[in-house]
């Protein structure tokens, strides 16, 4: 699944990273808790979140996240967008709530990894 496919499935708006939309995404993670993202996320994934602060971009950078979807229509400010551009991370914003956005992507075949024990 490409970032473009995710954008279309979620009826999302592209904030930045137009030239990177054809990149393949292999897994997804939905969380507002960056601690959990750092502990459980797989690489080359899309992160769905309702948080808009600079730490979301930093966390994404550490985890090699290639795309962030802000749910509930959230919009980060200019400085956060700039950080994402510098790091080659695509930003999308979708009006869907977290549960729905994750459900839609799951239905399209995207997975989040094995259960944690």
């Amino acid at each position: 699944m490409t970032i473009k496919d995710i954008k279309e499935a979620l009826g999302a708006r592209l904030i930045c990273g137009e030239e990177l939309q054809d990149r393949e995404v292999h897994a997804a993670c939905g969380s507002d808790m960056m601690s959990d993202v750092l502990a459980f996320m797989k690489d080359r994934a899309v992160l769905l979140t309702g948080l808009c602060n600079p730490q979301v971009i930093r966390t994404a950078e550490m985890m090699d996240v290639i795309c962030i979807v802000f749910v509930r229509g959230k919009m980060p400010d200019e400085s956060v967008i700039e950080m994402a551009k510098e790091r080659g991370i695509v930003l999308l914003t979708s009006g869907h709530r977290m549960f729905s956005a994750c459900g839609i992507l799951y239905e399209k075949g995207l997975r989040g990894g094995a259960p944690y024990r």
């Binding site: 808790m33 502990a39 979140t49 948080l51 602060n53 966390t59 550490m62």
Partner: protein
């Protein structure tokens, strides 16, 4: 790469706009040096967790990263309240982070356990009222 490369950074307390800059810089340098992506990821996660801890809990400190052929050592030294009970702090889910930190997406009590998971060696020295030093090693196989 025969010689050791030493990188040093200052970390300020409570500066969440800059929190993670040191980890970000180290990650970029390791990538440029062609270090295995899995190793880079382990270092980036451990260092970032440690750096965030310093920003949240300490009064500031320094990060030193020593890159050699067979390992990457990270020494995080801070001035601050210290950790009263290290064993308790290592327990997944235990956190003393205040509510405003949780609203930033941290404070789940996963930091130190996550560092342990991603490093080959972790040593914590802490003195209450003085500060904490973390020594972590990620081996390069």
């Amino acid at each position: 790469m025969n010689d050791k490369i030493v990188l040093k950074y200052d970390v300020d307390s409570d500066d969440f706009t800059r929190a993670g800059e040191a980890s970000s810089s180290v990650k970029r340098k390791l990538k440029l040096m062609g270090v295995d992506p899995d190793i880079v990821r382990k270092v980036a996660i451990s260092l970032y967790e440690g750096e965030i801890n310093m920003v949240i809990h300490s009064y500031g400190g320094t990060i030193e990263v020593i890159i050699s052929q067979d390992k990457i050592e990270m020494i995080l030294e801070d001035r601050g309240p210290g950790i009263k009970d290290i064993e308790l702090a290592m327990r997944a889910g235990y956190s003393t982070a205040p509510d405003n930190i949780r609203s930033l997406g941290f404070g789940a009590g996963m930091g130190l356990p996550n560092i342990k998971k991603n490093t080959d060696d972790l040593k914590i020295e802490s003195k209450v009222g003085v500060g904490t030093t973390l020594r972590m090693i990620v081996n390069i196989p």
